[in-house]
């Protein structure tokens, strides 16, 4: 949608110098000003901790700003909160559903809360249930619905009394890409009726689809306007380096230290680069040891522009990898092996004969929607779950017989960083060093090294729970690699963190892999999938596709979609599998 059209749309929310503080630290929101209009989707975009949830809560009148003014639908959020609450729809994170009430009972409750007249109910419920495709499930308890269905029910509850402004707080979290697309389409239909939608997200690819975005980072509004207005700034500077010979990871590390490169990430077999100047193509090609024809222009993405705006990605050097002694790398020895791994819970098969192996020095990804079985497979391979059938090996140790030996050779970084929040950074490192059996001088050396490498020294006495998300993530990685494991298990390692932290993280991982560490990663984050050498797409407990990211993309390429994204591949492969199952 062009900015000109946007101008005609009514302003529903006006933010004017809004400040919100919690405690003495950096304000959660710092002088945020902007407009939200009706009839379009406004993306509230930023990493976790950027201030998105706080801003939404201020819009609902459930929180008060410390300074500034918020006007929602003509009402002052400070003094007229009840009037605002009567006219908006709000879906908080985790959807605000009562899990032990049925779908219908949840709808009834919200209808009563919002005073929907009884005579209107059959029509409204009918419409909402059709719209969300939940008609068949009205009697089912909300807690027994899948993530995607919960999200739709949450949306239905927020829409009971056709609001003029709909606030959705991270509706895409914990929901697979297919459900996410469905929800997006539903919300788009609402804007046609003039409803203003605020969609908050940490996924930058979601931001691209919005009509307007408010881009937030660390409490500050970085950009307000159309997504294309933002990507405009990197226009012509985004290139894909193809036809790479040798290690693309090593090349990326070198390129990131080049002055003329703002940002770079691995994209399957290629490297995506943002250059400082459009004309830097030749010199960058020279550094890469190739010619300019291999630097193919690419469509700028929101993330390219965001990183550019934040001043570019971090260096490509990993002090962690440099401190690590290299292991024999090209021997092709499978460090992680899964042979027909199967896990049944009662009559439910969570993982069904999963087989793959990961040669030394490779990154392998388990990709799939929530509940597909990737976590189950992952847990069996790090010895946390006993397989019902099949076998798994790590570094040659059978997970059934020598689980302890195997576990000593792997580093594990759990989803949401399983650190001890009440222990300080130093105590956490000390604890994990102890767990991994490091003692004496070596223990001290490793802890000091970790504090230095991850720049945690000045936070060493801080409680882990008080760290900003980016530092938590660093600490979690430090704890997992303390004992120089041969294999690294990463469970959704960078979901929600800002793109700079994510790049830093992958720089370390890439560096370690170059030194011969083997990595297994689960993710539903398409960008992370691109870093993998190979991917297994898990759906309904089965591996439905196995191959390199480029293989998987090539599989779903069609005449009208010659260059599919990872997400396109994901969705197309799952849909194909569903059709096969139905046939």
């Amino acid at each position: 949608m062009s900015p000109a059209v946007t101008e005609d749309k009514p302003v529903l929310v006006r933010l004017d110098g809004v400040v919100k503080r919690f405690g003495d630290g950096v304000p959660a929101l710092d002088e945020v000003s902007g407009d939200i209009r009706g009839g379009e989707i406004t993306g509230l975009v930023g990493p976790d901790g950027a201030g998105k949830t706080t801003l939404i809560r201020l819009l609902t009148g459930l929180m008060q700003p410390d300074a500034g003014r918020i006007t929602v639908l003509g009402h002052d959020a400070r003094t007229e909160a009840p009037a605002i609450q009567a006219a908006i729809g709000y879906m908080p994170q985790r959807f605000g559903l009562y899990e032990d009430l049925s779908v219908q009972e949840n709808l009834d409750l919200y209808a009563d809360m919002r005073g929907l007249p009884r005579r209107d109910r059959p029509a409204v419920f009918g419409e909402l249930l059709t719209f969300t495709d939940l008609k068949r499930f009205t009697g089912r308890l909300a807690g027994k619905l899948s993530g995607g269905m919960k999200q739709k029910l949450g949306l239905a509850c927020a829409l009971i009394r056709k609001p003029r402004l709909l606030l959705l707080d991270e509706p895409g979290v914990g929901v697979d890409p297919i459900s996410r697309r469905e929800l997006w389409k539903m919300v788009e239909n609402l804007t046609a009726e003039g409803i203003g939608v605020v969609w908050s997200t940490a996924y930058l690819d979601e931001a691209e689809a919005c009509d307007n975005v408010l881009l937030m980072n660390a409490g500050k509004l970085l950009y307000a306007g159309t997504p294309s207005g933002l990507t405009e700034r990197v226009k012509g500077r985004v290139r894909r380096l193809t036809g790479i010979e040798g290690s693309r990871r090593r090349l990326l590390a070198r390129l990131l230290d080049e002055d003329k490169v703002v940002d770079g990430v691995i994209q399957g077999e290629a490297i995506r680069l943002v250059l400082v100047e459009e004309d830097d193509v030749d010199s960058v090609a020279k550094t890469a040891g190739t010619d300019a024809s291999h630097l193919v222009p690419a469509t700028p993405r929101f993330e390219d522009a965001f990183v550019d705006m934040l001043g570019g990605g971090p260096s490509g050097r990993s002090a962690l990898a440099e401190a690590q002694a290299p292991r024999a790398i090209d021997d092709g020895w499978p460090v992680i092996e899964a042979r027909g791994l199967t896990k049944r819970f009662g009559d439910f098969t969570a993982a069904d004969h999963i087989t793959f192996d990961i040669p030394r020095g490779q990154i392998f990804g388990l990709l799939g929607p929530n509940g597909a079985g990737k976590s189950t497979t992952f847990k069996m391979l790090c010895g946390l779950l006993k397989p019902t059938e099949g076998e798994g090996r790590v570094a040659g140790f059978d997970l059934r017989r020598d689980a302890a030996e195997a576990r000593n050779r792997l580093g594990y970084m759990a989803q949401k960083f399983s650190l001890y929040g009440d222990l300080s950074v130093g105590q956490n490192l000390d604890f994990f060093a102890g767990v991994y059996g490091l003692a004496g001088r070596r223990r001290q050396e490793r802890i000091t090294l970790m504090l230095n490498i991850f720049d945690l020294k000045k936070h060493a006495t801080m409680s882990a729970k008080d760290l900003p998300l980016g530092l938590k993530q660093r600490l979690a990685l430090a704890a997992a690699v303390m004992h120089e494991p041969e294999a690294l298990f990463l469970d959704e390692p960078t979901s929600g963190v800002d793109p700079i932290t994510r790049r830093e993280f992958w720089t370390h991982i890439n560096g370690l892999v170059e030194k011969g560490v083997t990595v297994l990663v689960t993710t539903h984050f398409m960008d992370e999938a691109e870093y993998c050498d190979r991917i297994s797409l898990i759906y309904r407990g089965k591996s439905i596709a196995l191959g390199s990211p480029d293989d998987l993309k090539a599989k779903v390429a069609t005449a009208d979609r010659p260059d599919p994204t990872m997400e396109d591949a994901f969705i197309a492969l799952i849909e194909a599998s569903e059709q096969e199952a139905a046939a």
Binding site: M63, M91, P92, G96, E105, D112, M113
Partner: protein
């Protein structure tokens, strides 16, 4: 205005209905409201007994005369003691250390001579101080047995005089069954569990799951949210109480001498501070784990220890006695015991009810300030 009121009624009934569904479907509320009370009641009905009959003691006869044998016989006939006779204190030393006996008594050499010379003969009582309850009991009852025996002897000798006998009468609990006062007391514990523990946890759960936030973003008011919780858990608390009373009366045969009205009036009054406390805890913690810990520490334990339920308040150190003034259960338990064992004593009940309602109002006032539709 009328439409507004209609909306309010509808919201309130919807909230109450929702809560009732949740209570019925959530195993943890069934556990706290039904199973836990049953366990407690059975524990106090059968398991815990503060009655001490037939305590095993040793009796050392250092001299054997008709007089000492007569005294020994009166110990043997006592229903409080189960006596083993010996002739040397060393025979019982080990038994006492191993807690096989509650204590031993020594009738010393020269007892008969002292007695005939009216020189106030002494009987030595040796008890295990590590078990003060039993020690006190043995000491007191041994003293009692000896003085009864002395009185009897005096009466027998002065045949002409009217025999003077002390006849003990215990009012209200003639069988001195601890069950009879423990069971009414445990009913107040049960109501604390439902009112404070369960309520604080279900509200904290709403904060944790984000449903509280979703509700608050609707036109509902803080008062409606509060009332929507109070009504169901108030009724659930009364339900648990009723279940306990039925069991107490029909299964444990605890007498019920007061009126149903007094029972419900007192229980209802007690549920106010209990619920208020539950609300306050959840509003402050917003976390189920913390809420349950706080509820146990600030609700359950004081009701148990500082309410006169098990330990006599009058025998507590003065500071603790003052602290116990802030424990609502201490105002309920004596009244509730009266309802069961004595009958209606309305002046006492009214005073308790007044104090309990006062507690309730204060707690609710603070809780609503904390909940007032704000997240932070």
């Amino acid at each position: 205005m009328n439409a507004y009121r209609r909306g309010r009624t509808r919201r309130l009934t919807a909230l109450i209905r929702k809560e009732s569904f949740q209570i019925v479907r959530d195993p943890s509320s069934i556990l706290i409201a039904l199973v836990l009370p049953l366990i407690l009641l059975f524990l106090f009905g059968y398991g815990v007994s503060l009655d001490t009959t037939h305590t095993r003691v040793g009796l050392v006869l250092e001299e054997t005369t008709p007089v000492t044998l007569d005294l020994a016989a009166s110990f043997q006939n006592s229903r409080y003691f189960d006596v083993t006779i010996g002739h040397d204190r060393r025979e019982f030393a080990e038994d006492l250390v191993e807690s096989r006996i509650g204590g031993f008594l020594v009738i010393p050499d020269g007892f008969t001579a002292d007695l005939t010379a009216s020189r106030h003969p002494a009987v030595q009582v040796i008890v295990d101080g590590a078990d003060p309850n039993t020690a006190n009991f043995v000491q007191n009852y041994a003293a009692g047995t000896v003085s009864t025996w002395e009185a009897q002897r005096a009466a027998e000798r002065a045949l002409t005089a009217t025999p003077l006998l002390v006849q003990q009468r215990f009012w209200f609990n003639p069988e001195l069954k601890s069950r009879n006062f423990l069971v009414p007391g445990s009913i107040s514990i049960v109501m604390t569990l439902v009112g404070t523990l369960l309520t604080s946890m279900v509200i904290a759960r709403e904060w944790e799951r984000g449903t509280m936030e979703a509700m608050m973003a609707t036109p509902v008011t803080a008062w409606e949210l509060l009332a929507g919780k109070i009504v169901p858990y108030f009724l659930l608390g009364l339900g648990s109480m009723t279940l306990c009373v039925i069991l107490a009366v029909f299964l444990f045969h605890v007498p019920f001498r007061g009126s149903i009205l007094a029972l419900y009036a007192l229980s209802a009054a007690f549920l106010m501070p209990a619920l208020g406390q539950g609300f306050l805890i959840s509003a402050v913690t917003k976390n189920q784990f913390l809420a349950s810990q706080l509820a146990l520490l600030s609700g359950f334990l004081p009701s148990f220890l500082l309410s006169g339920f098990i330990f006599e308040i009058n025998s507590m150190p003065t500071v603790i006695q003052y602290i116990s003034l802030a424990v609502p259960a201490r105002y309920l338990i004596p009244s509730l015991q009266s309802v069961f064992l004595a009958g209606d004593i309305w002046p006492m009940f009214l005073r308790s009810i007044l104090i309990l309602v006062g507690f309730g109002i204060v707690l609710f006032a603070v809780a609503i300030r904390k909940t007032a539709k704000r997240i932070a």
